[in-house]
């Protein structure tokens, strides 16, 4: 401990390792991470278009990769990233327009988004597998 005579320790900037995660910071870094991950999504979308334009055979080749377990995991991850980034992006656009900027609204919209995103992901995959017509 410092003696009364010693200068008061200067406040230190928070390092990520010791900084308590908060909803606002976690959602923000996840937004960024999902955006970076969607780079792969852009590549997959264009590969899908090229395969589709190549005809039935090349499309079947694409499907044979997409239907592997790894392919399904990647597609599931990309769908999560897309839906999350989409919903979180709406919050960012609201902030840019000057709405929902105080802490209370930041948390409220954050929790609303966290409730909607899993529902949308479930809806997309249930529809993709034909469970929902």
């Amino acid at each position: 401990m410092s003696s009364p005579d010693a200068p008061k320790p200067r406040p230190r900037s928070p390092h990520l390792q010791i900084y308590k995660p908060q909803l606002s910071s976690v959602l923000s870094i996840t937004h960024r991470a999902s955006g970076v991950g969607l780079t792969l999504g852009a590549v997959v979308f264009v590969v899908w278009l090229v395969a589709l334009a190549g005809g039935q055979d090349s499309y079947n080749t694409f499907l044979s990769y997409a239907h592997t377990i790894i392919g399904q995991i990647i597609l599931f991850g990309l769908s999560c990233a897309l839906i999350y980034h989409y919903c979180c992006g709406i919050r960012h656009l609201l902030w840019d327009a000057g709405y929902c900027l105080d802490i209370k609204d930041v948390y409220k919209t954050g929790y609303i988004m966290l409730a909607i995103v899993p529902c949308l992901i479930a809806f997309v995959w249930l529809k993709a597998y034909g469970v929902i017509p």
Binding site: R32, V36, T39, A42, V46, L52, A53, L93, V124
Partner: protein
Amino acid sequence: MNEKTKSLRSPLGAAKGRGSAQSGFEHWYIERISALILLPTTAYVLIGFLDNVAKGGYSGAIYWLQSPLAAAFAILFLFAGLRHLVCGLQVVMEDYIHLTTARLPLLFAVKFGAVLLAILGVLSIAKIYFAV
């Protein structure tokens, strides 16, 4: 300031041109405008994909992309998405890659890749649309 380093330039002359590169707003603006375009186009493409491709497979996908609205939205989705992607990746790289000699080639590679994907995507959509 000692006599040796004293410059004949006026303080204003020394300060001019030292600020931002004056192009930050455009970057910010394009990122938001592309995001706004992506709101309807992503929803349209995702719903169209689920309705046509997930159900109809290859022929469903071809049938879908041969409608003008679907082809137009797919191209718009592709362009806005790639432009948004370049903006976003640039910000991320500028935040985390401090070595200019690493960042600049990477940024060039990202932009080159985005243009390549845009051309490939548009050619594919056009090929499907015109059924050639």
